[in-house]
Symmetry: C2
Subunit: 130 residues, 2 copies
DNA sequence: AGGATATTGCAAGCGGCTTGCGAGTCGTCG
DNA sequence: CGACGACTCGCAAGCCGCTTGCAATATCCT
């Protein structure tokens, strides 16, 4: 099964390059239609899935906004959701750096292998415009 | 609008008291039917919503298992999901204790107000039985 | 250019959750 | 204690986000 190049898929990838943050399916659909105005929802879903399986995208489950997708391959990071504009940003740094593994006191016998951290607050642009 | 006592709601609350961990709607439904065998899905959804609005329950959005509910009012804690049995546990302790607020390096202008941490690994009972 | 087939758009389908409705249960008041 | 009003329940239909079957279209290879 050979992968073909289509305007739809190219448009979707372009949307992610233009917006350097996790995006919802709806955002991808709307932004993608600026390039391919017939772009269909099913096509977006199918391509997001394809790009994720192929490792180009990464699916994120957010606590409040449902599923978002971000470009994969970035270094370990977490997410920040602005409670004003609801945009989600990627933030570097990690409270569980190697020397802090034990910070979260797990009960005896439990072993943690990975983690996800979600921060909530106000982003810089919302704070300035308030 | 006066709240009435019903066997259904009592059964649902009992399920949470019997299992001291976050539960899915389906788990509540199945376990609740042991006490009220006619218990209906819609009733469970309605009561979980009611109990949440009233502050007795808290809704949790997990990255992999969807929505769970836990008894509210506990002190600040996070969650641990066992990748073997998929159960979610509450874990005390927090990598963002007061003296470590700045561990996650937020960009300038960003202000964090709250956070959620989700750990993944192996729980004690799965580790022993392996 | 021509043919094989990946991909798209559309519409139907699916699963989780919600809601309208008539029946049933709970609590109160006479 | 019995009856009425209102909250709840169970059921079925509905809604929403996502997936899938299918015919038409676009790509790619020769």
């Amino acid at each position: 099964m050979m992968r073909r190049k289509t305007n739809q898929r190219a448009a979707i990838q372009e949307v992610f390059r233009d917006n350097d943050r996790p995006l919802s399916v709806e955002e991808v659909l709307q932004a993608g239609r600026k390039a391919v105005e017939t772009l269909n929802q099913a096509t977006v879903y199918r391509n997001l899935k394809m790009l994720t399986e192929e490792g180009w995208l990464k699916k994120i489950n957010t606590p409040e906004l449902g599923v978002l997708y971000e470009v994969a391959g970035k270094k370990h990071h977490h997410h920040f959701q602005c409670r004003s504009c609801d945009r989600v940003y990627e933030v570097e740094g990690c409270a569980f750096a190697d020397d802090r593994r034990s910070l979260c006191g797990l009960p005896p016998g439990f072993v943690a292998e990975s983690h996800e951290i979600f921060l909530f607050g106000i982003c810089a642009s919302c704070r300035l415009s308030a």
